[in-house]
Amino acid sequence: MFRKILIANRGEIALRIARACRDMGIATVAVHSTADADSMHVRLADESVCIGPPAARDSYLNRAAILSAATIAGADAIHPGLGFLAEDASFASMVEEHGFGFIGPTPEHIALMGDKIAAKRAAVAAGLPVVPGSDGPVYADSEARRLASEIGYPVLIKAAGGGGGKGMQRADGPNDLERALSVARREAAANFGSDAVYLERYLDRPRHIEVQILADHHGAAVHLGERDCSLQRRFQKVLEEAPSPALTAEERERIGSRAAEAVRAIGYRGVGTIEFLWTEGTFYFIEMNTRLQVEHPITEMITGIDLVREQIRVAAGEPLGYGQEAVRFQGHAIECRINAENPRTFAPSPGRVTQYHAPGGPGVRVDSALYDGSFVPPYYDSLVAKLVVHAPNREECRMRLRRALGEFVIGGIDTNLDLHRALIEDGDFVAGRYDIHWLERWMRST
């Protein structure tokens, strides 16, 4: 087992990882920018090293500084957290070349899943259903036209190197195709340095459902059920729940088993998430995230499995030690992402936290690096807290969430607490009736 882990991240996820390390008796090294010197992830680490100025490219994305910090602190492994360098294959390689354990998959798997076309091909090879579309990049307009009529309109044109909705265009019919292709290519080139695009069938009002998987270095893999992350605003998840209110037990078991099989087929190791669009009983692979996910706690709540502990354990070479039959699902869990943002403009709201009181009591978990008097710097992500609630069933969970949201006090900065308070009262949410466009429609209507 690792003796000392450097956590190459900040905020609540750095704290989450530090907590897992402490629970396992592993010493921790925090790295931080000058803007984060007083932050909770630094306070709760055994050691800390300042690695650069506020700008992320000079600190949390500074590979050399992080490796130097690991060297001088005598760490034997590096946890990349999520965001920043977590899905940077070259960083993973450097970490291993310098003799540290990398708490994540191999650089090859990171690279494979980072290339959206290669990932889709790998998914097909591993037996996962994908959205019907082109097999690879589409260069000629004529080829695009032929493929689009095969796939059936509307079609979606997506950047091969892409993500986050950039370089994505919808074409409703043949007359619309040329325009959509040229806009998508231009955006792809501007954002990802390559104008390669591919075609996919456009799905109307699907749900975003993802399967958590966990694999060791010895070929064992299990799935930990699904999460429904359909409530999104501008491709950013806002509230997630597990299990999905839409799936039947049979669908859950089927997609879970196929995800675990796929992971075994490609020889993946560590934690990972396979994301699907789901509509009318059919799943379509969209991508795989080769890291811990922000919303991992809801899976922890319904399975009782500490995902970060398991991730560290398998990264150290330990065998999983249990099979799929040992994974039991109990109750329902919901996570609200609490962002420091203006409730109307959604602009980030950095500043000094003048009041902080987290909810407590049964079934309530808060993962947050905030404290009374802490400072939310303007340089990074606006996610400042995750409120995670667990109860025996979905409605009890929603009632408990309502109670916990009522107890939560964050003063001095703007947050989206009120958005969550309103959202969970909506009739469609109460009924579990929503798709990936629902939240934006709802926000326009309220």
Binding site: G25, A27, V29, T34, D38, P53, L67, T71, I72
Partner: protein, 153 residues
């Protein structure tokens, strides 16, 4: 910035002995116009229990590098701070003399020390011409980004 900063060594010694006597890890004193902070980082123990209570930032390796009470103020007008994290070397090689010594006159651009990061030896030039008043790093020991290396004014 104050126009002139006078390091009161006696005061620092007095605060250091107060730290010894009281078992504190940090003393900060602010008289409205000036602020002084002295800290002594504690050696980490394996799997010690971290506390969320406010405490001086500490690196587990600092006790080795700074056994004496550490007076760090990156806002000092003469401060030369580390532009990167790494290991500090005061000599070009183990047999050679130090690049600079306390009391030396240096010109802007003169090499003050080397910081090794990722096997690369980075020569750190003096940001200004002046006299080396203090050398705050120990040869062969790690430094963090932004840490005060020397005072030159």
């Amino acid at each position: 910035m104050t126009t002139k900063f006078d390091v009161d060594a006696d005061m620092i010694r007095r605060l250091a002995s107060l730290i010894d006597e009281t078992g504190l890890t940090e003393i900060e004193y602010d008289d409205g116009t000036r602020k002084i902070r002295v800290a002594r980082a504690l050696a980490p123990v394996a799997a010690q229990v971290a506390s969320a209570a406010p405490q001086p930032m500490q690196s587990g390796d600092q006790p080795q590098m700074q056994p004496a009470p550490q007076v760090v103020d990156a806002g000092h007008p003469g401060a030369v701070t580390a532009p990167m994290v790494g290991t500090a070397y005061l000599q070009p090689d183990p047999q050679a003399p130090q690049f600079v010594n306390v009391g030396d006159r240096v010109e802007k651009g003169d090499t003050l020390l080397i910081i090794e990061a990722m096997k690369v030896m980075n020569q750190i030039p003096s940001p200004r011409s002046g006299t080396v008043r203090q050398i705050l790093v120990t040869n062969g020991h790690p430094v963090e980004y932004g840490e005060v290396l020397m005072i030159i004014d």
